[in-house]
Amino acid sequence: MNLSSAAILAGVAVDAWLLAFIAIRGRRPWLQATYAACSLAYLALGAAFVGTNEGVLADLREDVALGILLLAHALTAILVLGLIHGETLPRRRSAAFLLLVPVPLLAYLAPTAGWTVATAYQGHVLGGFLVLCLGIALAETVYARYSSRLLAAPSFWLGVGVVALIVAGPVYAYELEYLGQTPLVAANLASPIALACFALVAVQADPFSITSRPSKGQTKPGSLPASDAIIFEEIRPKYALRTAHEESSSGRATLILGRTAPAMAAGGAGFAALLPVRHASLRALTTASEFLATSHGGLVVVEDLADLSALSDWPTTVAAVVRLRHVARGTGSTVVFSTCRLTDPERRALRDLRFTWWSLPDPAREIDAILTQSFGKGAARLLASFSRAHGLRQDELTTEHVPALLDFLTRTLAELSGVVVGTASHGLRTQLEAAASGLRSFAAQTAEEVARGKWPSRVSSESHADLLVTAADYWKGKEMEELFAAADTVGEREPLFERARAVFVEQLGDAGESLLRTQLAHLGKKPEELDPSDLVRIADRASIDLGSLAAIVDIPQEKARIQKQIDSIRQQLELIVEEEK
């Protein structure tokens, strides 16, 4: 076996390995199929060269080899176009395959025109087509490199691959011809380099894995406008997640893109976790694009746009946002972006894109405003009692908590039935009913309605502006104080989380709460979802975690102290569980 055959054979082995790698690793069937076709073409050309050179394939037909050569070049251009534009135009990516149309025609004309594999790159129509294919690939790569921050890095590697193919293809053929040596008969020495570069770009843009993916195919239309990208301007992504939940519940294929899975994703929406990788924005784009390509009319909620910006810088992220709008338009879908945790310049840049923009309130603040209308400044105390009872921070309150809040207020009022009587009791009940009505109507509003309507916080501040004494302030007498005290009592009796927290904090200080919340996160539960069986598991896990900490401490007294804390936490948690039975 001569040196050329050995080099090409090694290249064939690399091509085969890359083909298998992409087939196993990839998450984009369309791209994988294109990559497989392209690498198979180069693989066949290499095998044909080695076979012919070594006398194994002495009778290889010229037209077959020429056909594969044409296919390899056309598929190279198609693959490069797919890697650059495939994510933005998922429904139109098949248009690139029109480059295959001249292939059978040129293969048919080759015998009569005298075109052979050995003279493939010479100045005739066939040679022109081959160079045109490589030229298209190179031109698109150069254009993407300088026009898109998102594709700058991938297009560099695409460029390396295409240039390698050009150097080892037409350029090397001219050199060999100039020196009067035998050409490599269609085989391209640089095909492993090019395919490795294409594989690298495919992997860099590989979609994130989707957990609990909704079934593919047509989805039911949702309430959000289709073929659009909507910005949800909110402090925390509460309405974005609620909308995802509502749309998926109504049968619309929905995907949430975020760092950590929201509890609501269990409602039928798929979830893709953003991983800390260099090309996070590009991978988020491919994830959404692939999802919408298989679920036309679906919904993608990008919950953590700010984290995408942190992972792969803002210009790259905003380029992905613009491309996602094209995807939404091309697939009749909706993409929602939350502005949560974006900086002011980033928000301004997003506004400059002139997307549909919905300014949304923080439900926690609005709930507080509604309660304030009825209970005056003491509303904050009521909310604090409720939040404490459910192990929530006040800024975690959403409209989902409204039924629980109403239940809490009703029970608080019931506590007062023996203490507050007559007109005062009637007054409190009237106030509660007014608050309940306001809370229910606020919670029933969709994001679109809230974005258009007046928020309770604005209404209350406007309506109370000219009043010296509000109705709520009028009632803020002894009865109100009793209501707040009753709320504290109800709160104290209620939550498992609060009791567990007290145990952990008592033993471990402030770090105890962090430990408890970490254990809760491991169980995948929220504080308000805690039940006695969870406490047993938390006690077990905390014993193991703290036990391993004690094991690495060398000081006997400290070791004994930690062990004592472990025992104490376990005993107290078991006591709580016993009481709850």
Partner: protein, 176 residues
């Protein structure tokens, strides 16, 4: 020391391989280059230029991760914790701070100016200051979240509603 020696050997090996490929290329195309001095000058000169360029990048520590993009400044105490890898998290205000994304290298500077090393960014996220936990603070080299907030309030006038960027970094060694 062992890590630095290993890095040096890997980089040197990489350069040696490139040099071998370069010489092999000239040998393989010897007949082509015989056709004229101009060809040898232009093509050979270009290839040699690329090799020298690669060598420069390799020796400056910019291969394979590229040049540092941006910088992070630290107080002396913070820098000490980062250099000793006691602190893995770096918390910085999101507003008005440009930080390159994950997979990039940044220059780590003392507040007084000198560079003390380079940091590889492994992870980055945004958080409300009020959402930072004690666990985050401990990984950033502080005892509690309250202590971290106090430091930020003194240095950057942080408020609980501010957003911060939390970076997980890995020191790449001292400046060469």
């Amino acid at each position: 020391m062992e890590a630095r020696l290993r890095t040096f050997l890997v980089r040197s090996g990489f350069l040696f391989l490139i040099s071998l490929v370069l010489v092999a290329g000239f040998w393989y195309h010897r007949e082509f280059y015989q056709i004229g001095f101009t060809n040898l000058l232009i093509i050979g000169g270009f290839v040699t230029f690329l090799v020298i360029w690669a060598a420069r990048l390799a020796l400056s520590g910019e291969l394979p991760r590229g040049r540092p993009r941006g910088e992070l400044t630290f107080s002396v105490e913070e820098a000490d914790r980062v250099r000793k890898a006691v602190a893995r998290l770096v918390v910085r205000p999101s507003e008005g701070t440009t930080i390159p994304g994950v997979g990039h290298v940044v220059r780590a500077m003392y507040e007084t100016g000198p560079e003390f090393g380079r940091l590889y960014i492994e992870d980055a996220r945004r958080a409300f200051l009020s959402d930072l936990t004690d666990a985050d603070a401990r990984q950033a080299g502080y005892r509690t979240a309250a202590e971290l907030r106090e430091m930020g309030a003194a240095r950057w006038r942080w408020r609980p509603s501010d957003t911060v960027t939390v970076l997980r970094v890995r020191p790449l060694g001292a400046t060469r």
